[in-house]
């Protein structure tokens, strides 16, 4: 989680300095879901993510330096600069295709699950998407097929739609989704669905481990809605980091605006987890501070690596349009 947080915060800075272009999306506030839920995926499983993918890839072991390089369009990026922030693909971590089209991956994840079952590999698909994806017709179409064919796929919806810290939680309305709570939709298609607090690592752990076990037992698709509050820096289209995260903020937020303070107190999964670790005596504040130093150093090095990575050769643009023909 800490790697993701510092990766994203540094990215905002790098972007502001002109090292990357285009629009991009950060996972701040959603770290717990990715890290915990993806820990249950095995090496042969198929994972899919969206425009908001950095945290998911990092949770599966992507190197921060190569990920930065991709986001900056450099030669050492995971896709040599062809994909970019919106489409980074990292097969070693199970990510074979990343779509920036809202809802685009949902049918595809059902497809890899279909193949895994047909080939009897025991693999499953994990499909990570935002609450908005359920508004696209691709989602109900794919939920229907996954349910009918009992496909081994975990639909993991990161609902960051709770606008801003302090908004009433619970069964509030959505202005863009009548099927609310969102779990009503998969349930209509007879897919078991639960809601969890996406900032609570323990809750995510229980829900994900149970869902994955059910899928591996052949019980068909499962749906988890992980709820998080929208991070204050992510309310415009261009994320702006209000203050850089440091773990000591978990205990002393310092002189910050009330919104930010409330976010630290009850929504920030990184700080919540840190407090939990200390409260349970798993780690001391000093140990955590030391770990954070290491992470910051790692991120710093990653950024340097990416900045130093050369731009790709323009001739590369014409390669990889088609795979050479397979000869039987």
């Amino acid at each position: 989680m800490l790697v993701i947080r510092h990766f994203e915060e540094e990215l905002i800075a790098l972007h502001a300095e002109g090292h990357a272009r285009g629009h991009f999306h950060v996972c701040i506030g959603q770290e717990a879901t990715a890290v915990i839920a993806l820990s249950f995926a095995g090496p042969g499983d198929y994972l899919f993510t969206t425009h908001r993918n950095h945290g998911h890839l990092l949770a599966r072991g992507a190197e921060p330096g190569r990920l930065y390089a991709e986001i900056m369009g450099r030669r050492d990026g995971y896709n040599g600069g062809k994909g970019g922030t919106l489409h980074t693909v990292y097969p070693a971590g199970g990510f074979h295709h990343t779509s920036s089209i809202v809802g685009g991956i949902i049918p595809i994840a059902a497809g890899t699950a279909y193949a895994a079952r047909a080939r009897n590999t025991g693999a499953l698909s994990v499909c990570l998407f935002g609450d908005g994806a359920l508004e696209e017709g691709a989602a109900p179409e794919a939920l229907n097929i996954a349910s009918l064919w009992k496909l081994p796929v975990l639909f993991l919806c990161e609902n960051n739609g709770k606008y801003g810290p302090g908004a009433a939680s619970g069964a509030e309305q959505s202005r863009t989704m009548a099927a609310y709570p969102l779990t009503d939709l998969p349930r209509a298609y007879k897919i078991p669905a639960i809601q969890v607090d996406g900032t609570d690592a323990a809750e995510v752990f229980r829900a994900a481990s149970e869902a994955v076990a059910k899928i591996r037992r052949g019980e068909g698709p499962q749906f988890i809605e992980a709820q998080t509050v929208r991070w204050p820096g992510n309310e415009s289209n261009w994320p702006v980091a209000p203050i850089a995260t440091r773990l000591p903020l978990a205990w002393d937020p310092g002189p910050v605006p009330e919104r930010q303070r409330e976010w630290y107190r009850s929504c920030d999964p990184v700080l919540l987890f840190a407090r939990e670790l200390v409260a349970r005596n798993v780690a001391s504040r000093e140990e955590l501070a030391r770990i954070e130093e290491e992470v910051l150093a790692q991120i710093d090095e990653a950024a340097k690596f990416a900045i130093a990575s050369p731009l790709p050769d323009p001739a590369e643009a014409l390669r990889d349009v088609f795979a050479p023909m397979e000869r039987a």
């Binding site: 198929y46 995971y78 896709n79 040599g80 062809k82 994909g83 489409h87 693909v89 097969p91 074979h96 295709h97 990343t98 779509s99 089209i101 685009g104 949902i106 049918p107 595809i108 994840a109 059902a110 497809g111 890899t112 699950a113 279909y114 193949a115 895994a116 047909a118 080939r119 693999a123 698909s125 017709g137 691709a138 179409e141 794919a142 229907n144 097929i145 009918l148 390669r319 990889d320 349009v321 088609f322 795979a323 050479p324 023909m325 397979e326 039987a328």
Partner: protein
């Protein structure tokens, strides 16, 4: 060599493909899949019964079942997914155009998508505006897709085999009006390579570059014109992507007169691209303007004389050929 009807060759190919490779799954409505509304549709249902685990009927959810096939292809299968009427491919446009076509490139060659999309295109007689699309031009504007347009029994068999063997997303665009065409088909397996045009008829006076059903219409027109003393060469690219432009240009340089014939709507259609390429490369090699025979730029009407009025008929191909030698 034995003669088969086009539909027989097509069915034979599918049966061999499914029987020969466990990785092939065919996703289609069993009532109308593969053979459309043709009289031979029961023959596809027989194949479906023979391979019940691998011929799968999905809900009416083109977008999702095409996406499913894309995913299945990424994970080791060789799915063939059937949109049946090409117009229904429009429903799956985001998956075909924005996912399947881009996945290999965006991943810098890491993720292969060996999926085949099967479509029945064109003016089929009474399909009217919403069931008569020929989307190959739109798809040619979308790099990353292989586009196959068979026109003979031999080709439909050989090209279908290659389509399934290909590691790339391939759009296989067929035409029900071809189903009763007769032709030679070898007994032995003969996959037809992509990117190799076929000269369907030799002739010295005019080159007709035609695709799909227009190949048959052009051959018929050529027969007629032979009686008028005009020798027509009919070149069938067979695949638009990859395109065998060399064979086309070799014929153009020989005849110096060209007609392009294709069933898409005229503006930005397949004929437009063929014409553009030949005009670019053939500027100083042509003895007459290139002529284009295509569907007129109006939605497709239902009634017989109206549909006829906008169709690229055999007569209109013949007229264009005559004009180009005049």
């Amino acid at each position: 060599m034995r003669e088969l009807a086009y539909y027989e060759a097509k069915l034979e190919a599918l049966r061999e493909i499914i029987a020969g490779d466990d990785r092939v799954h065919y996703i289609a409505d069993v009532g109308t899949g593969f053979m459309g509304l043709s009289a031979q549709r029961v023959r596809f249902a027989e194949i479906a019964r023979e391979f019940p685990e691998r011929v799968i009927a999905p809900p009416i959810s083109e977008l999702a079942f095409c996406g499913l096939a894309v995913g299945a292809a990424m994970a080791g299968l060789r799915p063939v997914v059937d949109l049946i009427t090409a117009s229904f491919a429009l429903e799956a446009w985001p998956q075909i155009v924005n996912e399947a076509a881009n996945a290999f490139y965006m991943s810098a060659g890491k993720t292969r998508v060996p999926v085949v999309f099967h479509l029945l295109h064109g003016l089929r007689g009474g399909g009217a505006a919403q069931h008569s699309h020929s989307p190959q031009a739109m798809l040619w504007n979308c790099p990353g897709l292989e586009i196959v347009l068979p026109s003979s029994p031999r080709d439909v068999k050989g090209l279908l085999k290659t389509a399934v063997a290909s590691d790339n997303p391939t759009v296989f665009i067929d035409h029900t009006q071809l189903f009763n065409v007769m032709g030679e088909v070898p007994e032995e397996d003969e996959p037809i390579p992509f990117g190799k045009a076929d000269i369907k008829r030799k002739g010295a006076d005019v080159t007709v570059v035609a695709t799909s059903l227009m190949v048959q219409r052009s051959l018929a027109a050529a027969e007629r014109l032979a009686e008028e003393g005009i020798e027509v060469e009919v070149v069938d690219p067979r695949t638009l992507v990859p395109l065998d432009f060399e064979t086309i240009m070799a014929s153009v340089e020989k005849t110096r007169r060209v007609v392009v014939a294709d069933e898409c709507h005229r503006s930005c259609g397949v004929a437009a691209e063929l014409l553009a390429r030949i005009a670019e490369a053939g500027y100083d090699k042509l003895a007459a303007p290139i002529r284009r025979v295509a569907r007129l730029d109006v939605p497709v009407p239902y009634s017989v004389p109206l549909e006829e009025a906008i169709s690229p008929t055999e007569e209109r191909v013949a007229e264009a050929i005559r004009a180009s030698v005049r």
